[in-house]
């Protein structure tokens, strides 16, 4: 079966004055793929991701998300993607249920669907007892799982995750990745940045960003073979050591 391209990026550049945050990157991501987007702090990952989400306009280059152009169809893109930012971004002063209802409503789901999805989601996450509690009172790991579930509530074609597991314990991280696999099985493309190299191993393909450029892109096994490394950790060290940009 021919693999369907969901994200297509060509020569994408983002410059802030003299500083070129994203320097001419090109890649493709396929439907249902879990795509790891790796790089040191300040390598330009978040900037690249923000452009793909339609939050930031590129300086030059082209990209299509789910067939929509990132210059002209940002609002169409937004209907077809989910996004979970580095900062926790549900409303902490709303309850679990209210957050689900709000975001599902914003994506235009009807009341019946919202109700069904909300029950489903709360059951799957085992949040029955907490459904009417403020999100601010939940432990971080639960919040992150909830935020991910909310980000894919409208069954988007792509979900962008910006360091979703930062500060989360290993058990919860493992559960979080189970959720990512489940989403991938439903043909949702997962575009994820992370600093955990064990998580990089879970991805179907991984790209390594250094100083705004993509230095390597392959399956985790492929990368290890190319760089004669035992683990992704070593691959990362070899590539990131060459970086001239200081971390932010």
């Amino acid at each position: 079966m021919e693999k369907k391209i969901v994200i297509k990026v060509e020569n994408l550049v983002k410059a802030f004055g003299d500083f070129i945050a994203v320097d001419n990157i090109s890649f493709e991501v396929y439907q249902g793929e879990i795509f790891g987007f790796l790089g040191a702090n300040g390598a330009g990952k978040t900037t690249a991701m923000r452009m793909l989400c339609g939050l930031s306009t590129p300086t030059s280059g082209d990209a299509q998300i789910a067939g929509y152009d990132i210059y002209t169809n940002t609002e169409d893109i937004k209907k077809n993607i989910g996004y979970m930012s580095q900062k926790f971004s549900l409303y902490e002063d709303l309850t679990v249920k209210e957050n689900i209802r709000f975001f599902a409503g914003v994506y235009g789901l009807d009341i019946k669907t919202i109700k069904r999805k909300s029950e489903e989601l709360i059951n799957t996450l085992g949040l029955n007892a907490e459904a009417n509690k403020l999100v601010g009172s939940l432990p971080l790991g639960w919040k992150q799982k909830l935020a991910f579930s909310v980000a894919i509530i409208h069954e988007p074609k792509v979900v962008f995750l910006d360091e979703p597991t930062g500060g989360v314990d290993p058990v919860t991280r493992r559960q979080f990745w189970d959720m990512i696999y489940a989403a991938s099985d439903k043909n949702i493309t997962v575009f994820v940045t992370t600093h955990y190299m064990d998580e990089a191993e879970y991805c179907h393909r991984v790209s390594m960003m250094v100083d705004g450029k993509i230095e390597a892109l392959d399956t985790p096994q492929g990368l290890k073979d190319t760089y004669h490394a035992q683990s992704m950790d070593q691959v990362f060290y070899q590539l990131a050591r060459a970086a001239t940009r200081s971390a932010d």
Partner: protein
């Protein structure tokens, strides 16, 4: 910004927030048309405190200007003014003062009394000198205060202060709102959703709009009526109709501040700066007519000016929507202007 704000305030505010009452609009109804009545008119105008609004013979038309707030004082000179001075009997002048603005009314009528009594004094001396007769009373002045009969300060201030407070609540709450989302990062999450900008802004407006109406109602019924005993002479309809539009304008200003600021401190200090100017340049304390011309121009751009005007006129005078249509039109334009600006300035993509 930190440096500029106090400097601007220091430059503008003392000039505008001046307690000296000037430019009192006077209508003179002269039934006499004698050299004496003209001389008295001349004396009043040349005092520098009064601006002659109209000079005629018809009390009704003078009173119409009075109702439209175009004149502050009517001086009516009886037709036998000159004759009676000669006849040694008292001549009665009628002074009607618009007391909606109690301070202005009190000071204005006091100035007028003084001018008249000086003039009286002069005539008495003149007559004494030429005719050897003494005029006992000469001119008698009858004084009436309109719209705020007992010149109660609270009647004048409470509606104005209520207007300010509703504005403050609205602008502050609204200006902090989007900024708060910027600080905690939820705005990012909103920006990646397909929500339309105008719906987002509308969603931000409606709750504060309702809160504003609630605060106003508590102020009007519980505080103004319950504690100060102020019962509007006009109906509640023009008040609420105006409030509904006005709040949209005030909240629009808040939203606009919010879209420009990136932290809550920033929007707080910007709001504080604006509120200072809004309060002092609104005619709450200093009558607008007493301000220098450039300051009067600023008051015309200040939405609070219109709100206070409407509040006072409806509550103390009983003005109707028809009489207030200018205020309605201006504030509607402001409401549209600030909100459209806020929607345009709020960018989901940057």
């Amino acid at each position: 910004m930190i440096f500029l704000m106090p400097i601007i305030q220091l430059l503008i505010l003392p000039m505008a927030a001046d307690y000296e009452i000037k430019n009192i609009n006077i209508s003179i109804v002269d039934h006499d048309h004698s050299s004496y009545s003209r001389e008295l008119t001349h004396k009043i105008i040349s005092s520098g405190y009064f601006v002659l609004n109209d000079y005629g013979q018809d009390y009704q038309s003078a009173f119409k200007n009075f109702e439209k707030d175009q004149s502050d004082i009517i001086l009516e000179i009886p037709h036998d003014f000159e004759k009676n001075i000669g006849k040694l009997s008292a001549s009665s002048l009628l002074v009607s003062t618009n007391a909606i603005n109690g301070v202005k009314a009190g000071v204005g009528s006091a100035y007028l009394m003084q001018i008249i009594s000086n003039y009286n004094q002069k005539i008495r001396q003149k007559w004494l000198h030429y005719n050897g007769q003494e005029i006992k009373e000469g001119m008698h002045v009858e004084s009436r205060f309109w719209y705020n009969k007992y010149m109660k300060y609270t009647f004048f201030m409470v509606p104005g202060i209520l207007g300010i407070l509703v504005t403050m609540v609205g602008v502050y709450m609204c200006s902090l709102n989007i900024v708060k989302e910027k600080e905690i990062g939820t705005i990012e999450q909103i920006n990646v959703t397909p929500i339309k900008k105008q719906y987002f802004i509308l969603g931000k407006l409606i709750p504060f709009w309702l809160i504003g109406i609630f605060v106003f109602s508590v102020g009007l019924f519980v505080v103004a009526r319950g504690i100060y005993g102020i019962i509007p002479i006009g109906s509640y309809f023009p008040l609420y109709a105006f409030l509904a539009i006005y709040l949209v304008a005030a909240l629009g200003i808040g939203l606009l501040i919010s879209t420009y600021s990136s932290t809550q401190q920033q929007s707080m200090s910007l709001t504080f700066f604006l509120m200072m100017i809004f309060i002092l340049m609104s005619g709450l304390f200093t009558p607008i007519e007493s301000m220098p011309e450039w300051a009067q121009f600023i008051t015309k751009l200040n939405p609070v000016t219109y709100f206070i005007d409407v509040m006072r006129r409806v509550i103390l005078k009983g003005s109707t929507i028809h009489e207030l249509q200018f205020d309605f039109i201006v504030v509607s334009i402001m409401a549209a202007f600030f909100n459209i600006w806020a929607v345009l300035n709020y960018k989901k993509t940057n």
